[in-house]
Subunit: 129 residues, 4 copies
């Protein structure tokens, strides 16, 4: 499997730089096991073209993934995943997201019931996506 087609997106309205959005999404794909050791990432040019970005932007994302030890770029053969998914704890990552949501709930002053209802609804909707 390659990362091509796994749905990497960049949001130009966010204040987070595109290179970082790419990096984080690929890191997560690896964390979750959707990209495993040996999988090849899309080529820099390919991904840049798909996202409407300059090559350098993708190059930088890949470079940071490499220096984090998640992927390895070899000349002539592209970039491939070297870290096992087990390097991450998916449960911990889910807990992280849940914590962020709980914090938002508190800021907004919503009750636990409202918070859970909102999640149930969002999950139901996202099921189709």
């Amino acid at each position: 499997m390659t990362a091509h087609g796994v749905g990497i997106r960049v949001d130009h309205t966010a204040h987070i730089p595109p290179y970082e959005q790419i990096r984080a999404q690929i890191a997560e794909l690896i964390a979750v096991g959707r990209l495993v050791r040996g999988d090849r990432l899309p080529s820099v040019r390919q991904l840049a073209a798909d996202l409407g970005l300059a090559n350098n932007t993708v190059v930088r994302a890949y470079r940071e993934l490499e220096s984090a030890g998640l992927v390895r770029s070899r000349r002539g053969s592209g970039t491939e995943v070297v870290a096992p998914a087990s390097a991450f704890d998916a449960g911990a990552r889910l807990a992280e997201q849940a914590d962020a949501y709980a914090a938002a709930v508190r800021r907004l002053g919503a009750s636990n019931e409202e918070a859970l209802a909102a999640v149930r609804h969002a999950l139901a909707v996202s099921e189709g996506g």
Copy 2:
């Protein structure tokens, strides 16, 4: 009530610019009703000092809030909230957060049950905070 002490924070590791973090947090405090019409924001210099930022950074955050019609700054007499909390739809904001959480759940490949359990736990923990 004044905004002094309501706990505005800036995260220097985030890729979001400080002025935008400040703007968003104050907007949310107003949205949620923790800051209401007539409340005064901390002075530019005060907040800048508290957050370890240059005055200009806070000035910019306040300016953007002003051009969004949320606050009003007057020379010599500070900056105060002019928008009622009702200018916002708290339900919509909660739904937004829930959607973001659901999206993360999907990326992480967790089940709905796991997702809800994680939220219940996070809410329980955050109750004390």
Copy 3:
């Protein structure tokens, strides 16, 4: 005659500081002869109250008029006009305004005919004011 009631205004949306707006308007009233040698300006407190400004703002306007030799403040007796209208050349001031208008016409790319028609209309309308 006093300046009280001659219609001094400040525009808070303009980028020109209030003290300067006041100074310019009084200078013009003198230039045109609507305020003549011996006339008293409204008191600082009076004018400040009328305009919704701090006393200091009016004080500054008067100070600048004084250092321009147009008025004189004496303790106990307020501020009065000392310059004769003849210190100014009303014709030159009209020409200045006309030049400014002509420049705007050029910037806007309007024809001389359009420009004159617009002035005729504006003059007709202002006749009633």
Copy 4:
């Protein structure tokens, strides 16, 4: 056509802040159709250097034009006009200037005849410029 060389000026004696002078002049150039959709503004650094200002001052002018929907800035590729001239009503703008002139005429106590003669003269002189 580019804005380079269209003659943006800042008047340091005016009480209007430079960023606002720049903003207003560019807005007017667009309004009048001298800058049209797709035209590129001079680069921030170029214009700042031409005008003897700090980069930030120009950045702010451009930012305000962008949030008004008149131009669009993109990292790496400059700032370009996105609003059509038709977004403005040139007639209204001429009328505005004429009104300002008429107001000055009234303040100066000049007659309509004098006022029109002054405009005719100013227009004749400005014809060459």
